[in-house]
Symmetry: D2
Subunit: 379 residues, 4 copies
């Protein structure tokens, strides 16, 4: 396949992670054609220029709209704050580009649906930046569940705990505004966990949500004044999967001490799995069929027997990092473009997750169980 | 104080644990008077006789009612299946005995209230066998929270996972019947966790529950036929504490791989605590005030600096066991009798917990949030 | 069997642990006859009297020699500082008593041999207080090794780290004197680990030792003056087992942060075991034969499937404590007396361990490998 | 600085890891100039050509000698089997190239010295591929030790356990031959650990070694016949650092279950550190000065407060992988070339480590303590 030119918009946390991944993807996975790092976009053209040089991009721009429709660009990669995703994605799709977008796809499910439908109609490949689902041990977990290694599934219990807004001293930011961040912990962290749950166990049918804001105001750096926080610090969710099992989730951005605590425990009649993203190279597996007196949770270390690990290292237990997961994510997109088969986490998933977020928020407001399908937004 | 004669009813799991604790309490805690192991009661008189001899009881009986009103008995200790607690407790109270009862206090909150009121009117001391709350590290946790070491509390997330009924092969038993076990996982495991939550953070004001039964029928050993399981395998609970913080709980008796997984995580502005009863000699404490770059969850090992540990061992990290917790529980009761000051976990707590169980069940049925006070049963 | 009267000498850490164990042993293990807590001995007669009452002993004494030869006494239980063990044990043996002695048996192997031979000639049963070897999961480990579950054993790596003398502020005590404590970390901690190694893997044939004292002087409380510490803080040992495998050990009483860190890792062709006494209710087992991609160290929680656990609790994962191990130790002695079959850890083992300690010290002094048999002291 | 052309020799495990690192180093660390991936060398020219294309190298070669002296090449990067390092390094140095070499530098310390001296005379920058020492948390550990956060250091206890040769079924390979692999576990794993120990605590002065081979023969794939294994599976080492503290190490390539178990525990008067490379994003720190009853090993998660982490990710706890460590290693070399200041782990360290390996082997043979300086090979 011909290598595709990349236009990457955004130079923050995710912008850099994408840049690293785009650059090393073909070394890790020689079966895909290395994308060409063509244009780096930032609203600050000096920054764009400086980083383009450092990160190996051919050129820089401060005009994302122009880049989205630039003929030379094959893939538009969106790593900007949440509220910008919609317009950028739509513009890129309109120009027939493949699109790679960080989560959340949009600020609400109506917008997400719009984007999703546009992409489907345009026939472009899309990919959501859900990071964690494409991890070797998570893909292993999905395979184990699908193969029946856990037997009949009884329950899912998940959490995503971080503490980046635990301190009242953390300043006000766009993340606190509905118009820019959308939901709070749900949008930033919950989207990962909701996607993970559906990736592993299939669609969620019903939700019951409860939201809680612990810091109602934060100081806004420019003005020095206190501003109202418009979204939740903590979200609690009960849920039912379509396959007929119940689950629960808790998501918090004020969980003091937790840095990347995306955790879940799945219990089944034949076994259980326990995972914590802070130890992303381990998954704990209990096999009920082990000999009596020899049963216990096994700490499986990621290794070349697990999906995609060997692209990075032939030796088990040596460990992948978060940036390696982005490499897998990029490989998935490139392969999808090459084969025409969508990735597991495409915009349809981005929309699904946004639908769930909206349903949880509405359920919390109405204090009642809600069928996700009742939002009337299903594709 | 004069030593009191004990009448212990029940010779199963808890009966034996109580017997061990009653026998060693005064060695661990010389400040209390050793109780006299007077009468051991079992409906099987041969078993009662054999075990009375082995366990050091002066005599045996198969007539619990007689023992409850026996003049020589000072404390009646109830370790029988759940549905027997009510009549035994009421009989003992009526005879002016102090009463020590395994959880749950009764099969529903109305009965629990009755017992509780009878005890209050009789002026006897009572104690619930909640096991885990009197553990050195749990008492430490309560002290740390009360002293503000965690700052403002943000959230409580708890679970109690065991797997003793995970297999479909586990036979039908009294635990599966509402008339004998009451609720399912909630009664057997949830009562511990609910009590723990209130012990640490004060009264729970509102609950939202969801119940799930995974094995709808189990084979009944005598008949060999399948019988309907009448209560839940899994309970999920959202809750609000009176102090204005939210919490969540999940309780399961089908959590494959978990053996005594009573866990919680409490997050606060200054720190967090994480606990797992399967590692009962450890509590994890994150102090947000630690120096930058040196922060992390500390694994505190139980030691003589912590409440009651030194009664068992002067050296830290050497470890207590579940039976040692029962020794503390017995000491608490003996001290309460001696001083006239109720224990932390008395029948009022047993009633509180039963009220919560009822509220959760009713909430699950009605699929709506419920004020615990709305049950109209408050003391 | 008739119950035997106990004379317990010493009321410190171990004296209390023995008292608790002696009192509850027959409740946990109804198959043995409860010993009679007859006489408690302390050089401070007031203390002896007070504690005898609290601990349930019939009487008190400050005359250990008289108690050792008292006709009514069946078992003499020695929980005094190290240098007193020899005379007490010899006196008790001379009077035909069964003897239970805390480690180390003596200050050197010559004395230990003397005691050991006296006991053998007298035909009394003896037991060493090695605590940890009789733990359910350690006995399991021994059984697994013997049954070949680890395949051919490759190596043993052990450590026993505590920090009770890590601070230079810890005052001078009898433990620092060769004439009263014997060796340092080796005598206090190493004896446990050496016994454990032989319990699991059989006799040690050769040793190479290195000793290190980090705090050469400590302040003596009565005088306030600095005194020379006469024994080691850290001992490092290389060793060869008779079965032809190599091992290593490190023992430290200045390992800051460790409280009861008796650890080992045994690797074999079919599997490995990893243990840490600070988590005494867990053993980690790696089964090389597990399916590819599903291999990992299993955390086995102690439960009723493991030796002796069910005497304390029928439910797995609920946890035993250090004092429960002493109960097993006492049961072992009582059973030995009843059956005439020596316990696993009798005075012969106490002597073995002392022989190893002496060999390690001599090896360290000579800076060369030493055959344990070359000490010329073998029984 | 002008970007330098890289000639990378070897396309195995480390070849690929280097390729990934060389390609992404300037994205992670914009302050260095991206090296130019010029020529990839493999004795199989087809493989070299195929991978050169995939990995982004401009050209391929099967003539390492020509590449070493190629004028366009600025840095020669050696990722071949151990016995080839010497000739390649010498050739590259002779041509005035900077050299980056995987460990071990040579098969013995005489050769290592030769290379080291040649490099010093040529004035080129060199770097050893020790992987683990440049990890954020290891650099943190070094800084903490240097700053006195652990107080006076008492001891070092290290191990490096893997199991890649645990099974007797693992075939014979060049690693089993002295002429090609040099030492066994010592060369392959021990070099990492020895370097780590000196990186953290300074030079090792004396060693005592013991070597053990568990599988004396392995089947050679081409012939199908059993061949003698010429080096050790297990190495045990006692050691003294120049700073006057003792240490111990055990290294095994037959430690069933361990995949990358490079571990150490450093105890000091004010604190301790515990590390396990299998959890490379965590270091455990015990601060003796923490409040009484609140002390415990803290699990510090790698984050942007720690050296070099933020180049990869601004969020703590998200995790680096083994390949990220190679990126840091490459950055160190590029910076050294730019500034003229040698890296921490240059060929002088490669020589030091080889000297230690030789001393350990000689000590094991002579069964006596050996001064490292006594080898008469010191620079």
């Amino acid at each position: 396949m011909t290598s595709l030119n990349i236009g990457l918009i955004g130079t923050g946390f995710m912008g850099k992670a994408h840049a690293i991944a785009l650059r090393s993807v073909a070394t890790a996975f020689p079966e895909v054609s290395a994308p060409v790092l063509d244009c780096l976009v930032d609203s600050d053209i000096d920054k764009a220029g400086r980083l383009a040089k450092a990160w190996g991009f051919a050129r820089a721009s401060d005009d994302w709209l122009a880049v989205c429709s630039d003929e030379s660009i094959g893939i538009v990669d969106i790593c900007t704050p949440n509220h910008l995703h919609k317009d950028m994605a739509l513009a890129a799709i309109a120009a027939g580009k493949h699109v790679y977008c960080e989560k959340p796809l949009a600020l609400n499910s109506a917008d997400a649906k719009l984007i999703c439908q546009a992409a489907a109609e345009a026939g472009v490949q899309t990919s959501m930046g859900f990071n964690y689902a494409c991890s070797p041990l998570i893909t292993l977990a999905r395979e184990m569940i699908a193969a029946g290694e856990l037997g009949e599934i009884f329950s899912f219990r998940g959490s995503y705990f971080e503490d980046y807004m635990a301190s009242p001293e953390v300043p006000f930011s766009w993340r606190c505004l509905r118009s820019q961040g959308g939901a709070g912990a749900l949008a930033d962290l919950g989207t990962h966990l909701l996607n993970m749950a559906e990736y592993l166990l299939g669609p969620i049918a019903d939700v019951f949500g409860a939201l809680d804001t612990r810091h109602h105001q934060r100081r806004d750096p420019p003005s020095g004044e206190m501003r109202d926080v418009e979204n939740e610090d903590i979200a609690q969710v009960l849920l039912c999967f379509e396959r007929g099992i119940s689950g629960s989730m808790e998501i918090s951005r004020v969980a003091t001490g937790r840095k990347c605590g995306l955790c879940f425990e799945i219990s089944g009649s034949k076994g259980s799995l326990v995972f914590d993203q802070e130890r992303m190279n381990e998954i704990r597996f209990y096999a009920a069929g082990d000999a009596t007196g020899r049963q216990g949770f096994r700490t499986i270390l990621a290794g070349p027997q697990h999906p995609d690990y060997s692209a990075f290292c032939p030796a088990p237990g040596h460990g992948l990092g978060i940036n390696d997961l982005k490499v897998i994510e990029v490989r998935n997109l490139l392969r999808a473009i090459e084969t025409g088969t969508p990735v597991d986490e495409d915009f349809a998933n981005g929309y699904r997750v946004q639908l769930l977020v909206d349903a949880i928020e509405k359920s919390a407001e109405q204090q009642q169980w809600l069928k996700v399908s009742s939002l009337g937004l299903d594709a």
